[in-house]
Symmetry: C2
Subunit: 262 residues, 2 copies
């Protein structure tokens, strides 16, 4: 009877574990329940940091199915257009160009910090160390090697380029960003690999000296700008795959970002 009871305990544990896993290896080699696309479509109406910069996006059809039996185009665009990555070399001479960012840093636990409420009252709001502390109280400490994104709610303006740039009469833009203090904390105390945001820049709109760019790109991080669908992305528990065009010597480039939901 002893052996039988042992077996019953064993089988009970087995059943529990298979149930808890939900996607056991055998039936799902992928092991993810879903994918969230954090990328905006690249099109001629994309809002740009410099007003009118989107004229640089050009598409030319070079073959059509009617005439050539296949369809193909040539494309032209700035490296920093639409949902894109800033490589460290965008600001830090001699550091990684976009093709040199180690691929291990492009697959990372994703942390999404919501600051919509603060932004609602102040479009120039900068994500603070306090916002990070509040996030950690709920979700636990940010793991080393994470990618940290700010969900500011700014995406609702994406299809209204003027409201997304939000320039005042003097041409100064107003949109939220990361504070320098928050960036320093995330680098020094949390060893993150990158920062992301759903606005035109990791530095807030009125920034003149791009202090966060200078600091965090200078410390080997990458930046992701004009990120999409952060309002649909859990605060923690997903894995980001950051997939930039592998441009030799690039200062950055178009990027596809996916969050894999476990």
């Amino acid at each position: 009877m002893k052996f039988k009871t042992f077996i019953i305990g064993y089988v009970f544990a087995l059943a529990l574990f298979l149930f808890a896993q939900r996607h056991p290896d055998a039936s799902s080699p992928v092991g993810f329940r879903g994918v969230i696309d954090l990328t905006h479509t690249v099109n001629p109406n994309v809002p740009t940091y410099e007003a009118g910069e989107n004229a640089a996006y050009q598409v030319r059809t070079v073959a059509t199915i009617e005439k050539d039996k296949y369809f193909a185009r040539n494309i032209s665009l700035p490296e920093h257009f639409g949902t894109h990555i800033d490589a460290p070399a965008h600001f830090a001479p001699g550091s990684w160009t976009v093709d040199q960012i180690p691929v291990e840093r492009l697959v990372a636990p994703l942390v999404v910090i919501a600051i919509n409420d603060n932004v609602h009252n102040n479009p120039d709001y900068q994500l603070s160390v306090q916002d990070i502390a509040r996030w950690e109280e709920v979700n636990g400490q940010i793991p080393p090697g994470a990618l940290v994104m700010a969900n500011t709610g700014w995406e609702s303006r994406w299809n209204l380029a003027d409201r997304y740039r939000n320039a005042d009469a003097k041409g100064v833009m107003h949109f939220p960003g990361f504070s320098l203090e928050a960036a320093k904390f995330l680098v020094q105390a949390r060893s993150v690999v990158g920062l992301g945001i759903d606005t035109l820049s990791i530095d807030y709109g009125p920034s003149k000296n791009f202090e966060v760019h200078q600091y965090s790109l200078g410390h080997g991080l990458y930046h992701l700008e004009n990120v999409a669908n952060l309002d649909r992305t859990p605060a923690t528990g997903t894995m980001a795959v950051v997939a930039p065009m592998k441009l030799a010597g690039g200062s950055g480039g178009p990027v596809r970002i996916m969050a894999l939901v476990r």
Copy 2:
């Protein structure tokens, strides 16, 4: 004693499962041991399907750190350049353009079928249904929703564009591809989402009518061409993340491909 024996069985199973998992959730939110980059760097010397087509790749520096305090460039290139994706709309009118491919199809179990030996004796070799059968004898049946890539060994010629195109005196190229029969089997009997290869085309070099393109793009698959590092990628057990530029209306585009190793 019965309860104690039950507990011993339970704990024994628990220990076994934790050991077998190797990367339990608690210690590794990412859950992958490594990343293989299946992407070639985009540069002016990339071999192209049409001879000299790489002249269409142009880079212009628009800002330098010395002059502007930041570094940025504009880029121009064909959608089908370097490691790239063919969307169904490349050959099948009215079907998915590159931005319309459902993101769930871009994260898929990766199958790598090596045909180097056959290619060594015949550069025009086409991956056959028999090659698939041989792979399945060793690795088990290809799961539904997989991405199937041919490792032909052709990558060793990547930096020698003439040898990679391998055109004869009449201008006919000679490099390996997928046979139409293999593509039909993979679509009809294995429900794959895409095909990939380490040559210029899924159809072999001498192809005139692009039969495999017609068939598999016509059935909603995507193609990945000029894939890198397949010789370093396990035949099975990795998960591919296929991350194309999200070009509105694109026939295809530059793609970053990563294999996540569990």
